[in-house]
């Protein structure tokens, strides 16, 4: 029998009915979906891996509370987001430099040192923003979402997002002045 791609909702319902192993399908399907978001928010691939793992475990624990199983990934995103914010609160006092040690700039063969350096500088500057500012920047400029899409996901308004973003632009500019 040729297996069609199963809908998320069907997998969620199967897991809730007791088939725990099916959860691995969901994890496999979405394991990388927000990995980049977590890495940019937390400044390190290792921290992102921990956050994504914890978020999937918590999502399993709370699977019964997923209001719309067909929209599992959107609900999972909020859990991951929550976990990232909690992590950032715990690490409030940690200097951004340490946190950014693991920033994975995938250096391709023709990457100039200067480009990689600018990329690292921006990631460090991102970590100096408030979590809210960093998030809107990452969702729009890393993940490529529109303001409308971000507003829907975070249950907020486009004007308030733009306000946050425009503050972020100014703070980033100030941080990066030495690199222009």
């Amino acid at each position: 029998m040729r297996a069609e791609t199963e809908a998320d909702g069907d997998i969620v319902r199967a897991v809730l009915a007791g088939d725990r192993e099916r959860y691995a399908q969901l994890v496999e399907r979405y394991r990388d979906r927000y990995a980049r978001y977590a890495a940019r928010m937390l400044g390190s691939r290792d921290a992102a891996e921990d956050a994504v793992q914890d978020a999937f475990v918590r999502a399993y624990d709370q699977l019964a509370q997923c209001q719309d199983p067909n929209k599992f990934v959107g609900w999972f995103f909020l859990i991951l987001r929550n976990r990232c914010f909690a992590e950032q609160r715990r690490n409030r006092t940690k200097a951004p430099l340490e946190a950014a040690d693991g920033v994975a700039a995938v250096d391709t063969a023709d990457d100039r040192t200067e480009t990689a350096e600018r990329r690292r500088a921006l990631q460090l500057a991102l970590l100096d923003l408030t979590p809210d500012q960093r998030e809107v920047f990452v969702l729009k400029h890393v993940e490529g979402l529109s303001y409308g899409e971000i507003a829907e996901r975070l249950s907020t308004s486009v004007p308030s997002l733009k306000m946050r973003m425009h503050r972020a632009y100014d703070k980033l500019r100030e941080q990066l002045r030495d690199h222009t």
């Binding site: 809730l16 725990r20 192993e21 959860y23 691995a24 994890v27 496999e28 394991r31 990388d32 990995a35 980049r36 977590a38 890495a39 940019r40 691939r45 992102a48 891996e49 994504v52 793992q53 999937f56 475990v57 399993y60 624990d61 699977l63 019964a64 509370q65 920033v103 994975a104 700039a105 995938v106 480009t115 600018r118 990329r119 500088a121 921006l122 990631q123 729009k140 400029h141 890393v142 303001y147 733009k162 973003m165 425009h166 632009y169 100014d170 980033l172 500019r173 100030e174 990066l176 002045r177 222009t180």
Partner: protein, 184 residues
């Protein structure tokens, strides 16, 4: 607003609402600076191949939290047990003291696969206090020691249905359901 802030038009450029050609000449340099900033954004994908294995392994470990309920095996309970009859008869504990009062939570739910109680005493966590099925005809129970004072709670059936205690007074929970009330 500091003099180092981006000009509002340049912010629109950053937002993608206008192109650099739309900027007045005197802002072009700032516009190019802004675009260089965006070009430094690292969009490389991040891959976490170890995640599925790590997650599934974590799920097979028993939950970290130790359950705080006591199993009360031979409970002589009337079917219509009114909760506050479970109180000890001693003098009322002062509010906030740790002197705990034994409360029996009971729900008749023959068709349920799992029942728990969640409320103000356990951070509304449906996983914190499972009930135990004590009889073949579907009575579920748990016994907790709670401090004196006011508590609200509800039963969670099969992890999905929030059900107030039919034997207790209920109030609006503000979310379209009702919470049960317990004053000790």
């Amino acid at each position: 607003m500091s003099e180092y802030d981006f000009h509002p038009l340049v912010k629109q450029l950053l937002d993608g609402d206008i192109t650099i050609a739309d900027l007045p000449v005197e802002l072009r340099a700032q516009g190019e600076e802004a675009l260089r900033l965006l070009a430094a954004v690292d969009r490389s994908p991040v891959s976490l191949p170890a995640i599925p294995q790590r997650v599934m392994r974590a799920l097979t470990r028993p939950p970290q939290r130790f359950p705080r309920w006591l199993l009360a095996p031979a409970l002589a309970l009337a079917a219509a047990l009114v909760l506050w009859l479970g109180r000890s008869q001693g003098p009322m504990a002062t509010p906030g003291s740790e002197a705990a009062i034994t409360v029996h939570f009971v729900l008749s739910a023959p068709g349920a696969r799992a029942v728990s109680v969640a409320g103000t005493f356990n951070q509304w966590d449906p996983r914190a206090t499972p009930l135990v099925r004590t009889t073949a005809n579907g009575m579920w129970t748990a016994t907790l020691k709670l401090p004196a004072g006011h508590h609200q709670y509800a039963f969670v059936v099969d992890g999905v249905r929030w059900v107030p205690d039919p034997a207790a007074p209920a109030v609006d929970d503000g979310y379209g359901r009702r919470n049960s009330v317990l004053t000790l």
